[in-house]
């Protein structure tokens, strides 16, 4: 286990050190102490290493992650795991707004609650939130799965594309073009897999699925041939 004291050794050194790790490294376990809400912790990693942050972080923790498993023993600020490509990011506490924004792949697990705009513009990432999520979550979400074991706030899935949204609790309101959809067998499989990997004991049959009505995919043009 390698230990990095962020307070005394600085952010540049941390990210530089972690970004230099490759698939062949034998230093596969790292812990970061004294994060004290710092921004951009463990960003741009691209190796199958495990990084544990011993405390809460600021903005963009684990941003653009590839391959790495990053655990935060605390809560995270805005934009955790933004644009993640692969790997896993696991948050013990709560997440601020934009969690998993624009993520292309990998798994983001939030064991507490997530604030507004969780999964905004997601492009293939899987997100599992054990608690509730805030308003405007999955706005313009393009692909991937958002699983919410608690409740969802206002305007869920507004202007949604092809992302799948699963909510166990209540939904305060659906956004434009977002509708409830049938939960088919393949969706139960997806849910079971994600809940297992996220360490949740929720049951797939307790969820409802939401997706795009696809009514906003094209402009509404009268006499389109004439346009």
């Amino acid at each position: 286990m390698q230990t990095y004291d962020l307070e005394s050794e600085g952010l540049r050194g941390l990210n530089s050190t972690l970004q230099k790790q490759s698939g062949e490294t034998n230093q596969t376990n790292w812990q970061v102490i004294n994060p004290k809400g710092s921004h951009a912790i463990a960003v741009g990693l691209d190796a199958p290493i495990e990084v544990t942050v011993k405390g809460s972080t600021g903005y963009y923790c684990a941003g653009m992650n590839q391959q790495a498993t990053i655990k935060v023993e605390g809560s995270v600020g805005p934009g955790v795991a933004e644009n993640m490509m692969s790997g896993q990011v696991i948050i013990d506490g709560d997440a601020s707004q934009y969690a998993g924004a624009t993520g292309h792949g990998g798994l983001l697990v939030i064991k507490g609650n997530a604030s507004s705009r969780c999964g905004i513009s997601m492009k293939g990432i899987d997100i599992v939130v054990h608690g509730d999520i805030g308003h405007m979550s999955a706005f313009m979400a393009q692909a991937g799965n958002l699983v919410v074991c608690g409740d969802a706030g206002d305007a869920l899935g507004d202007s949604l594309y092809e992302a799948r949204l699963f909510v166990r609790g209540s939904v305060k309101s659906l956004g434009a073009d977002c509708i409830e959809k049938e939960l088919r067998p393949e969706h139960y499989e997806i849910l079971k897999d994600l809940l297992d990997r996220a360490g949740s004991d929720a049951k797939p049959e307790e969820f409802k699925r939401y997706g795009s009505a696809r009514q906003l995919y094209n402009f509404d043009v009268d006499k389109s041939a004439a346009y």
Binding site: L11, R12, N15, S16, Q19, H39, A40, V43, G44, D46, G58, Y59, Y60, G63, M64, Q66, P78, G79, E82, N83, M85, Y98, A101, T102, H104, R117, I120, S121, K123, G124, F139, M140, Q142, A143, Y161, E162, Y217, N218, F219, D220, V221, D222, K223, S224, A226, Y227
Partner: protein, 445 residues
């Protein structure tokens, strides 16, 4: 009496200036379709522009440099504030961001070839980086847009600079648009979207809001790219003084200010023509902000929107810009709106010089299209040569003017080299009205 009645002069038909034929045609089009007019390009309305300024040239009080022989440098370095590897360009004319999707693959390749041959940079667009444009661009700026289509850290690290796009001059406050006709399999795959949809991008970034967040976003991008490459912040010209100041405060290496004549691949005509500031009006406030913060020349200013000639380049630099960017002009150099396609333009209901339905993907010149047959009309090698030549001419023209004003580097041009032909241009450019020592807003007339 009957004969006289027949000779009474008749009132001539008078067209309304308010309800003109173009306005009435647009009312009829809107009534027929129920959708606003969408088009490409920038503002077509006449606004005060660089044509309204003149250089004074050397005289008794200043002497010129020998026009064909004496040295007049043109290089510019962008990103000297924080980046370990600033971009060094041979000429202060760069190629603005235009996406693969909006443009064909061969067109993007041609831009890369021409820019590289001329010693300058080109820029990606909304849709990510293609291997072709990376391969043909010696210096490539990677746009970081609200949509984040195709955004990934591997491409980010391949870039020579990162341009955070807050807005563009054609539509400040609006997002990108790419209609279904141009969403080919490859474009759809790059953007993680269904094929054939009318893709309308977000107008603001998904994971930051405001200058304080932007500062942290820039920190993150620098951490991911090891502080190697410059980070630009591009804004559509609306509040140039404050936007420039806030971009500097957020940590930008370069500010890109895009006026309303700056083009777009597609957006609402009402947006293009009615939102934003003329390019001429935004330079001095942006420079003023840099000067007030003590970072003029340390944070470079790139101006875009309606740059067409070496005279425009020289005027923008004289007003304090470090470089300019061209988009529409570069497309024209490649072959956009070329008279040789007039017959086909007429089939599309338009004419040479007016073709702006770039969103429909039927460009006869094969530039703003994803149709393989049309795209094949553009030879990227030949088009790249044309762009290189055009960039060379712009540079020569700017040098001609600079030498005539007595300067041995384009960056030595200054506002004192200029006068204005109109009150409006004098007020916007803050240079004296021709023949006077005064401009509107200046005290002590």
């Amino acid at each position: 009496m009957k004969d006289m009645d027949d000779q009474i002069p008749r009132t001539l038909p008078i067209q309304s200036a308010t309800f003109s034929n173009p306005i009435n045609a647009e009312i009829r089009r809107a009534a027929a379709t129920g959708i606003y007019d969408i088009r490409g390009g920038g503002a077509k309305r006449k606004v005060p522009h660089f044509d309204d300024l003149l250089f004074l040239g050397a005289s008794v009080s200043r002497y010129p440099l020998e026009g064909y022989r004496e040295r007049c440098d043109t290089s510019v370095t962008l990103g000297t504030r924080f980046a370990k590897k600033p971009i060094v360009l041979d000429i202060p004319v760069t190629i603005a961001g235009m996406s693969f999707g909006a443009l064909s693959g061969p067109a993007k390749e041609a831009l890369g070839r021409g820019a590289s041959a001329a010693g300058t940079s080109t820029t990606t667009g909304d849709g990510g980086m293609t291997p072709e444009e990376r391969g043909h661009s010696n210096k490539l700026v990677y746009q970081y847009l609200p949509s984040r289509y195709g955004m990934n850290p591997n491409d980010l690290r391949k870039a020579d600079a990162i341009e955070i796009v807050v807005g563009q001059g054609a539509k400040p406050g609006g997002g990108g648009m790419l209609l279904g006709q141009k969403i080919s399999d490859r474009v759809a795959d790059m953007r993680t979207l269904p094929k054939g949809i009318d893709q309308r991008s977000a107008c603001r970034h998904p994971d930051w809001t405001g200058p304080d967040d932007l500062e942290i976003k820039i920190l993150e991008l620098r951490e991911i790219t090891d502080w190697q490459v410059p980070i630009y912040v591009k804004v559509g010209a609306t509040r140039p003084y404050y936007d420039t100041a806030l971009a500097v405060k957020a940590g930008a290496d370069v500010v890109v200010m895009d006026g309303m004549q700056g083009g777009t691949a597609a957006t609402q005509d009402v947006f293009i023509e009615h939102v934003g500031l003329p390019t001429l009006s935004c330079i001095r406030p942006a420079v003023q902000a840099l000067q007030d913060l003590g970072v003029h020349r340390e944070v470079q200013l790139v101006i875009s929107g309606g740059i067409r000639t070496g005279a425009d380049v020289a005027k923008a630099l004289a007003l304090g810009a470090d470089a300019v960017a061209i988009g529409t002009a570069a497309l024209v150099a490649l072959g956009d709106n070329d008279p040789k396609w007039e017959t086909e333009y007429q089939k599309l209901g338009t004419t040479t010089g007016a073709y702006d339905d770039w969103h429909e993907g039927q460009d006869p010149a094969g530039i703003t299209t994803q149709d393989p047959d049309l795209a094949a009309r553009l030879d990227p090698v030949e088009a790249g040569r044309r762009l290189r030549n055009y960039l060379k001419v712009m540079t020569l023209e700017a040098q001609t003017i600079a030498r005539a004003c007595g300067h041995n580097h384009l960056h030595n041009l200054e506002p004192e080299d200029l006068c204005a032909l109109t009150m409006e241009a004098a007020a916007m450019a803050r240079v004296p009205l021709a023949g006077t020592s005064w401009y509107p807003g200046k005290e002590g007339f």
